[in-house]
Amino acid sequence: MTPAVRCDGVVQIYKTKEIEVVALRDIDLVIEEGESVAFLGPSGAGKSTLLWLLAGLLRPSAGRLWLGDTEIGKLGPRALDRLRAADIGVVLQNPARNLIPYATAVQNVTFAQRAVRRRGRRPAGDLLDRVGLTAVRDKPAGRLSGGEQQRLAVAIALANRPRLLLADEPTSQLDAVTGQAVIELIRDLGTTSVVVTHDVRVSEATGRTVTIRDGRIGAEGRGGEDFVVVGREGAVQLPPEYHELLPPGSMVRVEPLPDGVVLRRAEP
């Protein structure tokens, strides 16, 4: 079965006036259909950049990226627009940024639905009902509470029955109760979803976590257990909690074992 998302050696470089910044390097990642994945990592690690790549808002500088059978890097701008409209739902970090503040909740949903043919749409009323916003459907989005705005953002993202839901910090500005409601909403959707978060509750709610450090996938968590990921060149990123044992810059001795290797600090 074709995975929902597949990244193969994806590299992303930003060019500014003076310098080039490598935001992502050699990202290999496979996300299966229906899987929920949380991207974790410190600020500036490249989480959002990877999310924007998955949303087709950026083209990888190198490597290949598939969404289902479609290789995103080979699509033109129009095809990317169509892909984004029909197959990808995006929830941005600040709830208000997802909305047109002077339009009502219903208008916000229907605005997103303009991009696709009528057949692919979900009725706006159903969507708002699903996210619990029926009562405020005709209220301008700018006047909704933070939680309501975030739920509305999720509803908008789902407006065209996307195959992939991308959410950037969906709970960052919400109180605990509201955040929990949003988490449950995303989890219960059943859609393949990728969530960028710092929120432990979110990561716990997803089946899989991917930790990104310095533009690389450093670790993955599945079923409550964290794994270090061996990179293309055999590099591994030790989680910070082990830095005390093996400080950065120290020399280690690699000792093979039948099912792996052991790293021991060595004094030259």
Binding site: T16, L57, R78, D81, R97, Y102, Q107, R114, A115, P140
Partner: protein, 996 residues
């Protein structure tokens, strides 16, 4: 959703709407105002035109003139005035009378006695004709129709009428010579009824169909100045062409009209209107688009988040454009009717106050089209403004600090290149006289110049601030540092400088144009009118005119004969005291010193005589065989403009006394002996070498009056009283047989006479008071302009000019000039002295007339529009700075939280705003001045460019400085208020919120 969005950004939307209205107003105001001004100019030209310039008089000896013109129809034409006339001498052939009838004649005359004619053969006459009510008049061509005998029909006088010769019914013809006192053998019209013509149509006296011998049918078609509009010009021209053709089609139909002259004058006025109006309109529209571009960019920027959202949702490109442009497009569409309405209101107000009060301002298709074009241009500007927001990557939109992009030189280069081309064409091409595309770049050069300088200035300012930024980083306070940093990187700074410089550039140009043109109007009016108030009085003689003037202090007598060169004869001393004079016109010399040279030395007295006969006592030696001599005497006779010559004598040794009749005019008024000419003739075959030599001696002249002979005081034996053309002799005036010395004249004037000339008038003969161009003159000084002369001409002494002339031409105009401030007193004095005033010309009236010409009207449009545009530009610049600075309140709040005091922050804001606004204002002022320097000499100021005085295009400093100071002061105030408002909006709590 559009309305909700507009309401959410209501203030910005309102500003965009106001700015969007500007190009629509600018685009539609020009055509609408031009329409109104064209109509005004047309009506004014017609109003001031003579009767035969504002209509046609069609006559025919074979057809009904009314029928000939019945198909000539237009809304602005009055119904034809039909009539007919028969020109016939009276039965004694002493005077020729027009027997005529005209439609509505009884309504246009005042009956002094009797009644209007009602039946055939009844007539009414003028009082000056001498006919009495109840009497009869017989005309040679009005005979009994069915009579074999050539018996004349008596016409019965039933009334005596008075009428105004200037009544439109008479079409400006000189129909009333008897009433006017001109006795040239023509009588005043005998007004009758059409029945007289019908009854006498087959009169045997004249030949039917031959002009001057039978009834001539006529129809007068007038234009109604109150109904004609500027758009009717083409129709009027076609009517003129048709009627002109009618006049050429046959010998029996004649069309009398000076319509071609009127049309030429209208075209001249309209052409002079179209150039500056197009100039004003184009520049205002361009400025409006620039303002629109910059303001819409703000609106689109305010929607950047929403547009990015639309792109995130995958909306197709077209839908994104539609979404991005929906609000500005809606505002633009709303601006169209609002702009048209505003234009309509402005033009209506302007027409009420500045043009004809009863003018109907209309919004025609072309005006709407111009408005739509302005909107379309606005849409393009909007699309350009939105392009970056709509097309830039979404992730770029979300960046807190967008990547800086290099400012391209392409647009700047194009603007600078077009400006250079326009400027070169403007400077090298001379005056702009048409509005074709060929001169388009020259027409918009002033506006382009402002934009080009603004573009250079916006690049210089950040560079300068960058240099100062380095300085303030190491020394000085944080306020200067922050201000320099912000200006050096701010895009708001650049756009504010551009819009402010362009707007103010136009305003300064407008003020400079207004002040320079107003000064030229004033100067030209001073020279052309000559004095502050000029009264035109009836034509009389120099002595009477001199007496009128002498009786009223602060006046000067002036007689003007049109040239070229124009002759202005006056009393030099009085002239110098009342004329408006600038010493700069005459090498910094006062007028009194210049005109003092005009009065000649004391001249000999004139030789005046009167009577019916003249007798000359002449002695001469015998003439050779076959030779004879004729002595002619030239006289100046009252009422004539040519010399009257009589063959006074054929000098012969056999007799000494010769007698001849004096010209008839010498009977009723004194004549002046102006010269004696001795012409020698030889019979056929005589030898030239035998021609007589030496001279005859005129010893005495006598005239007979009432049968008595009186000796004429001619000073024949006084060599000082006669021009010495031959050897003098005691006891009389020698008359030489030598053809080179055969003319003797009383030495009553210097020849050539001294004259003060202007321009290129020197070296020609003057028309003189008699308009016969006999007067030679010698220039005592040449000036750049002379009071009262609107063309090159000469000022001469009135008494001398009178002695030179043989009379007064009908082209001369007798005037009394009033000294400054004495107009009312002089008018009252003239009234008191019983001197009719035919016309009064004042300096202010002349200035007002110039102002109401095409260029003057366009200047009004420029002043009003540029003022509004400048205020909008200043407002837009302040708003842009305010918006840019408001985005930084977060940063300022952080500084305040970090312990920075308020004072340096205030200083920073104030400095930033002041520097930007002042820089923009100074650039604008410079741009306006340069544009004025380049464009003013090339843009017409007058419908007819005056020949004299030379126009002065140097800038008038006071208004320009006043505007510059006002602009800078406004900028400072705006900067201070904006800074204070912004500073009050800085709150530390703001740091808890996301930056805007």
């Amino acid at each position: 959703m559009i309305f909700r969005g507009l309401w959410r950004r209501r203030w910005l939307s309102l500003i965009v709407l106001v700015v969007a209205i500007l190009p629509v107003v600018a685009g539609s105001l020009g055509p609408m105002y031009t329409d109104a001004a064209r109509t005004t100019l047309m009506r004014e030209t017609l109003d001031h035109a003579l009767l035969d310039h504002r209509g046609w008089r069609v006559t025919s000896v074979t057809d009904s003139a009314g029928r000939l013109v019945e198909h000539v129809k237009a809304p602005f034409l009055l119904p034809p005035i039909e009539g007919a006339e028969l020109l016939s001498p009276n039965d004694r052939a002493t005077r020729t009378y027009p027997l005529m009838w005209v439609d509505g004649q009884c309504d246009h005359v005042t009956l002094v006695e009797g009644r209007c004619p009602e039946a055939a053969d009844e007539i009414m006459v003028t009082g000056a004709s001498g006919f009495k009510v109840g009497g009869t008049v017989k005309l040679a061509l009005v005979r009994e129709p069915d009579s074999d005998e050539p018996r004349l029909t008596p016409l019965h006088v039933v009334g005596v009428y008075e009428t105004d010769a200037a009544d439109p019914l008479w079409y400006g013809r000189s129909l009333f010579p008897q009433t006017a006192g001109v006795t040239e053998g023509n009588g005043d019209p005998l007004l009758t009824v059409p029945d007289t013509q019908l009854k006498r149509a087959t009169a045997t006296g004249g030949v039917i169909g031959v002009p001057g011998e039978s009834w001539v049918s006529s129809a007068i078609v007038y234009i109604d100045p109150q109904k004609i509009t500027g758009d009717d010009l083409a129709l009027l021209e076609s009517i003129q062409a048709e009627l002109r053709g009618l006049g050429r089609s046959g010998q029996t139909t004649t069309v009398f009209s000076y319509m071609d002259d009127m049309l030429a004058a209208v075209h001249r006025h309209l052409d002079s209107l179209s150039v500056p109006t197009t100039l004003v309109t184009l520049q205002l529209v361009a400025l409006g688009w620039l303002l629109m571009f910059l303001t819409v960019r703000d609106l689109v920027a305010a929607r950047a988040q929403e547009i990015a959202l639309a792109r995130l949702r995958g909306l197709p490109t077209l839908r994104i454009w539609a979404f991005g442009l929906s609000e500005p497009a809606f505002l633009l569409l709303a601006a169209l009717p609002l702009g048209l309405a505003a234009s309509f209101a402005v033009v209506q107000r302007m027409s009420e106050t500045l043009l004809s009060k009863d003018l109907e301002v209309t919004v025609d298709g072309f005006t709407v089209l111009c408005g739509v074009a302005a909107v379309f241009g606005g849409l393009l500007a909007t699309a350009l403004a939105a392009r970056q927001t709509v097309t830039q990557p979404v992730v770029e939109q979300w960046r807190r600090t967008p990547r800086s992009h290099r400012r391209g030189w392409v647009v700047d280069g194009v603007v600078l290149a077009i400006t250079a081309v326009g400027l070169a064409e403007l400077v090298a091409g001379g005056a702009i006289t048409d509005t074709t595309g060929q001169r388009a770049s020259a027409l918009v050069a002033p506006g382009l110049l402002a934009v080009a300088l603004a573009m250079i200035a916006r690049r210089i300012l950040p560079l300068a601030c960058r240099a100062l930024f380095r300085l303030t980083r190491t020394r000085g306070n944080i306020g200067a540092f922050l201000a320099m940093r912000q200006i050096s990187r701010g895009s708001a700074t650049a756009s504010s400088v551009v819009v402010l410089a362009a707007g103010l550039g136009l305003a300064v140009f407008a003020v400079a144009a207004w002040s320079v043109t107003s000064r030229n109007y004033q100067e030209v009016a001073r020279v052309h009118n000559g004095a502050e108030t000029v009264f035109v009085v009836p034509r009389t003689d120099t002595a009477t005119l001199g007496k009128i003037s002498a009786a009223i202090p602060g006046t000067a007598p002036v007689i003007v004969t049109p040239g070229p060169p124009t002759t202005l004869a006056t009393d030099p001393a009085r002239f110098a005291s009342v004329a408006l004079w600038r010493p700069s016109y005459g090498n910094d010399q006062p007028l009194s010193r210049l005109v003092a040279k005009l009065t000649p030395r004391v001249a000999a007295p004139r030789v005046m005589l009167s009577g019916d006969r003249i007798r000359a006592h002449i002695t001469t030696s015998p003439l050779p065989e076959g030779w004879s001599a004729n002595l002619y005497a030239d006289f100046r006779v009252a009422g004539e403009t040519r010399p009257a010559a009589i063959p006074l004598a054929r000098p012969d040794a056999r007799t000494t006394l010769y007698e001849w009749g004096l010209p008839r005019g010498c009977l009723t008024a004194p004549c002046e002996l102006r010269g004696l000419r001795l012409e020698v003739m030889g019979d056929t075959g005589t030898n030239f070498e035998d021609r007589p030599s030496g001279s005859a001696l005129l010893t005495k002249l006598e005239t007979r009056s009432d049968g008595r002979w009186t000796t004429v005081d001619a000073g024949l034996d006084d060599p000082n009283r006669w021009t010495s053309t031959s050897a003098t002799s005691d006891g009389g005036l020698p008359l030489s047989f030598d053809p080179n010395f055969s003319v003797s004249r009383p030495d009553t004037f210097p020849d050539p006479m001294p004259g003060l000339s202007s321009g290129t008038a020197a070296g020609q003969r003057l028309p003189g008071l008699d308009d016969v161009y006999f007067s030679a003159y010698k220039s005592v000084a040449t000036t750049r302009a002379l009071p009262g002369l609107n063309a090159p001409g000469v000022v001469v002494d009135l008494e001398t000019a009178d002695r030179v002339a043989y009379g007064y031409s009908s082209r001369t105009e007798f005037q009394i000039w009033a000294a400054p401030g004495r107009g009312a007193e002089v008018r009252e004095a003239l009234r008191r002295d019983g001197v009719p005033v035919l016309a009064t010309r004042t300096l202010d009236d002349l200035v007002a007339a110039y102002t109401s010409q095409g260029p003057g009207l366009a200047l009004l449009l420029l002043i009003i529009s540029a003022g509004v545009a400048a205020l909008l530009a200043l407002g837009r610049a302040v708003l842009a700075l305010h918006a840019a600075a408001r985005r930084r309140t977060y940063e300022m709040a952080a500084l305040e939280a970090a312990g920075a005091r308020v004072r340096p922050l205030r200083t920073a804001l104030l400095l930033e705003q002041t520097i930007t606004l002042s820089w923009g204002a100074l650039t604008g002022i410079l741009a306006g001045l340069v544009a004025a320097w380049a464009a003013l000499p090339r843009v017409p100021e007058f419908a007819d460019i005056p020949v004299t005085p030379p126009l002065d295009y140097s800038l008038v400093p006071v208004p320009v400085i006043a505007v510059a100071c006002a602009v800078l002061a406004l900028s400072m105030i705006a900067a201070a208020v904006t800074s204070e408002l912004l500073l009050r909006g800085v709150r530390v709590d703001q740091l808890r919120e996301a930056p805007a």
